[in-house]
């Protein structure tokens, strides 16, 4: 039978605030266990949480970027569950009045766009981190509460995705949006961006949803895709055999590339939400919303489409340039200085990105400024240096941070355009390579490029190739 795959994603993103959601403890990753903890985030009796304004505003900003309706009255609720990584035995989250509801995000798949609806966006606190010693026979787990209380944004999509292509695009797009807005560092390897998928299958053409299976423990985007592919295979086999798919939660194992049903005890969900009495509600007025809207930058997909339209760049190049906000900004800064979008785009994509990768440069602290790249391109267009020499100058600019003019002067790289000088070099080359002239006269056309190469070699690549070519042709009598 042919099935339609129905997929929804739940995304958790740690917000990149300096401090936790309800206390002034640091959110820094990778420090000594239990050194960024205080009575508030440890849930000691009598403490009072106070909301981090930046975390709330980051959430608001994200909800707006995802086109959500903003609840003018929003509050926080206690989600009760007992697990050792949760010091209070409840998580402060949102349930009744989520910050944002009914939004959508536009994704691009195979050149066409699709809207994936967002069910809700809400703010909650992170749990601590559990470590399970691997030695066989240990009967304990270890808890580090440094992460407990870090602001966590949850974004819940509708089950609007119909295949892994769409899921992949959804994850990439959402990640890019969060990065563009600087609200999360989205480092999956550090757990600051996590996905959970829910998958069901239904007969093609039917609009009745099948039983939904949730998959957890997905530590990379690759794992999400693999787990979904595995789950689709598993469910279609069950349905083909006429069996039903049990509604359950499964854990993905990235090593064996299989998922396994979570034990029912852990699955029992009865969170008994009720309003968190220690926190006051938040009322959001138009003025505040307007302020936050003003901080949202142009989003990656919009920016990409604009680059295609305004700068006449290819879809592919625009995609690469807008992949990271830093490079899209760099590009636009350059274009403002020098209106050569195509050349600038080429330099960024072919040279800057390669240097960044090879030298593992910090993209937020690039050694080259837009003004410097623009002046390098200007120098090339004036004919002061050839494009081959320009590559050398560029590499030097990256290494030293110097201006191209200074490098050209220092290393005497300026192109030789002095005709009499070039002529004397040509004569010298012809004199030492008489056989090439003979070859040329016998009809071997490539002898001319050999001579050209020799002249360039003599001048260390600095001779103006156009002038060399003309003079050379004159000499051999074309």
């Amino acid at each position: 039978m042919e099935y339609e795959v129905v997929i929804g994603l739940e995304t958790h993103a740690e917000l990149s605030t300096l401090t936790k959601l309800f206390c002034g403890c640091s959110t820094k990753f990778g420090v000594e266990p239990n050194t960024q903890v205080c009575p508030v985030c440890l849930g000691m009796p009598g403490v009072l949480p106070v909301m981090n304004k930046k975390a709330f505003e980051y959430s608001l900003k994200s909800a707006l970027a995802l086109h959500c309706e903003i609840n003018k009255f929003t509050n926080f609720d206690r989600k009760s569950y007992y697990y050792p990584d949760l010091p209070k035995n409840y998580q402060i989250s949102q349930n009744y009045y989520n910050l944002g509801v009914n939004g959508y995000m536009t994704i691009e798949v195979n050149g066409s766009t699709k809207k994936i609806r967002i069910h809700n966006v809400h703010l909650e606190e992170e749990a601590g981190k559990l470590i399970h010693p691997e030695e066989i026979g240990t009967n304990y787990s270890l808890v580090d509460f440094n992460r407990a209380g870090v602001p966590l944004l949850e974004i819940v999509s509708y089950p609007d995705m119909r295949g892994v292509d769409e899921v992949d695009s959804y994850m990439q797009t959402l990640r890019k949006i969060l990065l563009y807005m600087d609200v999360s560092d989205c480092k999956m390897q550090e757990g600051s961006l996590r996905f959970e998928a829910s998958i069901s299958l239904r007969e093609k053409g039917s609009d009745k949803l099948g039983n939904r299976v949730e998959i957890k423990n997905l530590n990379s985007m690759k794992a999400v895709i693999k787990a979904i592919e595995y789950e689709v295979g598993r469910q279609s086999k069950l349905l083909d055999r006429g069996e039903t798919v049990a509604r359950e939660t499964r854990l993905w194992d990235a090593v064996t590339e299989r998922s396994e049903r979570m034990r029912s005890k852990e699955e029992a969900q009865d969170y008994r939400y009720f309003p968190e009495p220690d926190l006051l509600p938040v009322l959001i007025d138009e003025k505040w919303l307007h302020e936050i809207k003003g901080t949202i930058p142009e989003l990656p997909l919009d920016r990409k489409l604009r680059f295609v339209e305004v700068f006449k760049l290819s879809d592919y190049d625009s995609g690469i340039l807008t992949e990271e906000k830093v490079f899209a900004d760099f590009f636009e800064e350059c274009v403002k200085i020098l209106n050569r979008p195509k050349a600038i785009s080429n330099w960024i994509i072919n040279d800057l990105l390669r240097e960044v990768k090879d030298r593992k440069l910090d993209i937020h602290n690039l050694p080259i400024k837009p003004k410097q790249l623009a002046s390098l391109i200007e120098i090339i267009e004036k004919g002061t240096i050839s494009s081959t020499i320009a590559k050398e100058v560029f590499s030097e600019m990256i290494q030293s941070g110097k201006n191209p003019h200074a490098i050209i002067e220092e290393k005497k790289l300026a192109q030789i355009s002095d005709e009499s000088l070039i002529e004397s070099i040509i004569e010298k080359v012809i004199a030492t390579n008489p056989e090439a002239i003979e070859d040329y006269k016998k009809g071997k056309k490539n002898a001319l490029s050999f001579l050209m190469g020799q002249v360039m070699k003599e001048t260390k690549g600095k001779a103006n190739p156009k002038i060399v070519n003309e003079l050379l042709k004159g000499k051999v009598g074309v």
């Binding site: 605030t17 300096l18 401090t19 206390c23 002034g24 403890c25 640091s26 000594e32 266990p33 239990n34 050194t35 960024q36 903890v37 205080c38 009575p39 440890l42 106070v50 909301m51 981090n52 304004k53 930046k54 975390a55 709330f56 509050n75 009760s80 007992y82 697990y83 050792p84 035995n89 559990l130 470590i131 399970h132 240990t138 009967n139 304990y140 787990s141 270890l142 808890v143 580090d144 509460f145 034990r263 029992a268 009865d270 008994r272 309003p275 009495p277 926190l279 006051l280 509600p281 938040v282 009322l283």
Partner: protein
């Protein structure tokens, strides 16, 4: 209606082990509380807005400023069991 089954369920959600006497006691106490609430439900509250907060206040925030955390020693001082800088708990996965 609070019966024994419900008490057992609530206790298991809270990871509590109750003795028979305790089950009996909580069953009676919770039944009393619920019957009092039943009494309150009979009041006409048609024009009264639900109130989750006792204060007529909203939008209380703090700035995103670092405060010193508590020392690891103090934090771990209450822990029934620890290893190095970690809290030690019974194994939670198999």
């Amino acid at each position: 209606m609070i019966d024994k089954k419900l008490i057992e369920y609530v206790a298991s959600l809270s990871r509590l082990e109750l003795t028979r006497d305790e089950e009996e006691m909580f069953m009676n106490q919770l039944t009393d509380i619920l019957s009092y609430i039943e009494k309150l439900r009979k009041l006409n509250t048609e024009d009264v807005k639900p109130m989750a907060y006792p204060l007529n206040k909203s939008n209380v925030f703090r700035e995103d400023k670092l405060c010193p955390s508590t020392s690891k020693e103090e934090i771990l001082a209450n822990a029934p069991a620890k290893i190095d800088a970690f809290f030690k708990v019974p194994k939670v996965i198999e």
